[in-house]
């Protein structure tokens, strides 16, 4: 039986299906960086549109199911719509006025600006969501400490705290039930609600501190915190990572090029 090289580097890593899941988290971030930089720099719908189209086209490579993707990203879609609407209402007017009511007016120019804003938010956010969904926190921690040489104390501490967050989410729910059983109501006036919410936050804080203290002892008792350590999992770069980075740079270049060619390129600070 032949064991794949990746499995030797980290036998505990789940067998990755998609290209994005196989790629090194740092490679994904490196690919994301130029794309985001272009979108931040220019405010036009061509570059945003190209990145968005590319993101949707790359969805199969990420291995994310469409339903799953929208379940995670719907908040961003909503935010983009709200921003687009807001810009259309209050944005600088130009061209023919489509609708006017007091200080609020919608013109062709402000509608286009609104569309561009909405597209831009989506184009910045969706590739980020794709990277986020396909990146395992453990792999990211390995890459950050082994490749970027960030201190292990900080990286692994954050990783353990991140896991504890999931435990605390569950605890928040239990606290709510436990307090209802005591007669703490969910209703009442806003001040009452705020008071009861703060009480629950306090309860969660107490549990979080208790848990964190115990966890710190557990980690210390396993020799964590002083001196060097070895890494059971190797964070390595492969051919996939080169392609991912190249893809990111290529996409950024394409976005800038087409946007300039169509004359839509519009530096934010210019």
């Amino acid at each position: 039986m032949t064991v794949p090289v990746a499995a030797l580097a980290a036998p505990s890593r789940p067998v990755a299906g998609s290209v994005f899941e196989r790629a090194n988290p740092l490679a994904k971030l490196a690919a994301l960086l130029p794309v985001t930089a272009v979108l931040v720099a220019t405010m036009d719908w061509v570059s945003s549109g190209i990145v968005l189209v590319a993101a949707v086209a790359l969805l199969p490579l990420s291995g994310i199911r469409v339903g799953e993707f929208f379940r995670r990203a719907w908040v961003l879609v909503a935010a983009a719509l709200v921003s687009a609407w807001g810009t259309a209402l209050v944005g600088e007017d130009s061209g023919s006025v489509l609708f006017e009511a007091g200080p609020v007016s919608i013109s062709e120019g402000s509608v286009l600006a609104g569309l561009a804003t909405g597209l831009r938010i989506l184009a910045v956010a969706l590739p980020g969501v794709m990277v986020f969904i396909t990146t395992d926190p453990t792999d990211l921690a390995d890459a950050l400490s082994q490749r970027l040489r960030l201190p292990a104390r900080f990286v692994l501490g954050s990783l353990a705290a991140f896991r504890l967050l999931g435990v605390l989410t569950e605890e928040w729910r239990t606290l709510g039930q436990a307090r209802r059983a005591r007669g703490v109501g969910a209703g009442g006036n806003p001040f009452r609600r705020l008071g009861s919410w703060l009480g629950q936050v306090f309860g969660l804080m107490v549990q979080a501190i208790r848990r964190a203290t115990k966890l710190a002892i557990t980690m210390e008792a396993r020799g964590f915190g002083t001196g060097d350590r070895t890494w059971a999992r190797e964070s390595r770069f492969g051919a996939v990572d080169a392609w991912v980075i190249l893809g990111g740079v290529g996409l950024a270049a394409l976005a800038v090029g087409l946007s300039m060619a169509t004359g839509a390129f519009n530096l934010v600070w210019a």
Partner: protein, 547 residues
Amino acid sequence: MPGACITAADWGWRHAGRTVPAVAGLDLEVPAGQKILLAGPSGAGKSTLLYALAGVLDPADESEESGSLRVDGAVSRELRGHAGLVQQDPETQVILSRVGDDAAFGAENLQVPREQIWDRVRDALDAVGLGEDQGISLARDTSRLSGGQKQRLALAGILAMRPPLILLDEPTANLDPSGVLEVRDAVLAVVERTGATLLVVEHRLAVWADQVDRMLVLEPGGGISHDGSPGELLAPGPVRDELAAAGVWVPGRVPTPITPTSRNWRSNAHRNGPGFGQYRGDIDRQMQGVVDGAHSPTAAPSGVLLTARGLAVSRDPVTPGWRRRFGATPKPVQRDLHLELGAGEAVVVTGANGSGKSTLLLTLAGLIPSHAGTLTAGTVLKGERAGHLPDDPHRWKAADLVSRIGTVFQEPEHQFVATTVRDELLFGPRHARDPETGQRLFTDEEAAARADGLLAALNLEPLAEVNPFTLSGGEKRRLSVATVLAAGPEVVFLDEPTFGQDANTWAVLTGLLRGLVAEGRSVLAVTHDADFAAALDARVVELEVAA
């Protein structure tokens, strides 16, 4: 790898902010490879000694060390990876999110080369029964492990470090009986194989008594009061009696439930109306009308507090509205449950991990919605002043719930809402409302009388002005039960009330609950504690893990 030797000479430790030392004048000589059970009452400094041996006690912050404590001739703080420690709460024993990574964590810190780590990890996981042969991959998500599996994973993480000293601080206190045995057997197998020295602290001595070489008894604020083989110390005699009196679970002894004497907190607001006597006199009739729905649907309707028909339960609520389309609908952990709870009945729900016992309890208690089926509160439970209270307790307001259904959670701290013990007891009666008029059920004087009665009944009077979070484990448990009784609920639900409790707290708790049942209230507890079920003479309902 030989085991570690421990030498203590007049050793003591005072924690920061305390005036009395946790341990003082401890003299101890432990040869390599000995297996030791550490016993003693709460507050005897057992955990302090373990932490000191593990090298995780910090001498910097205002705490004070005296005498000397050495492991293999060195101060334990300076020996990294020499001792492995497993603590009580399984949730804090897991560090990383994959089984293999978590087991490798300690070895990485000891700078074991990568080529060796995975051999060690596989070996360690096999030894504790979490290996790939047992169907658990290295990539398995650690949050999907049971409590017993998490404790065994912690043990594997330690084993991969190959430490000569293994320290266990109540490793099985939060586990069900099968979990207790799986962890104990894994520990014994590991110690057998490596020859490591073992020190284990446990309340329930029977788990380890036959398996260890030596037993040490610590006394509060002092050193070792008894030192001998478990056979000697636990044989009928003064030491055994002394331990039992201190609340230690000595093998083969079930504590006698202690019935509280004070009674002035036991009145029920709903029954103060004209219908009061009508129910009171009928307790005996109600008790015989208490059965599993499947057996006898003929139970007198007035005697039934809660009726569940075709109930499906799940921790995850049915996702509301349009979002349901995007996520998978949570699968109920149990479905088609039929259950009736009668007045004056004691019921114990048992079942393996993952059978949904606690979920069922939360659903019956009106704290989470059911997924299917009906849950109906009977007129006895709703009481005289029920008004237009809905049938399903989940739709009641918290203020209506608290005087009818009391729920005691596994972790007492989850239910503390006030800053003193007395305010904690006043909270329920002050918030209980009449559903019809919205008026308070108890006046301030009545609430105070109930709180004082409970303080007396549960020996909490000296602690009345203390912050609940600073109480000991047993005191917290007693308080958490008292707080839900304060508003006079008709039925009390309890989730694993005896987990991690010493024998004295156990006796007070069972005595209290027996008293409730005797006067016609109902008790339903989720527990694996067979002695508890026997003490309450409870009907036992066993849940099977749904396919």
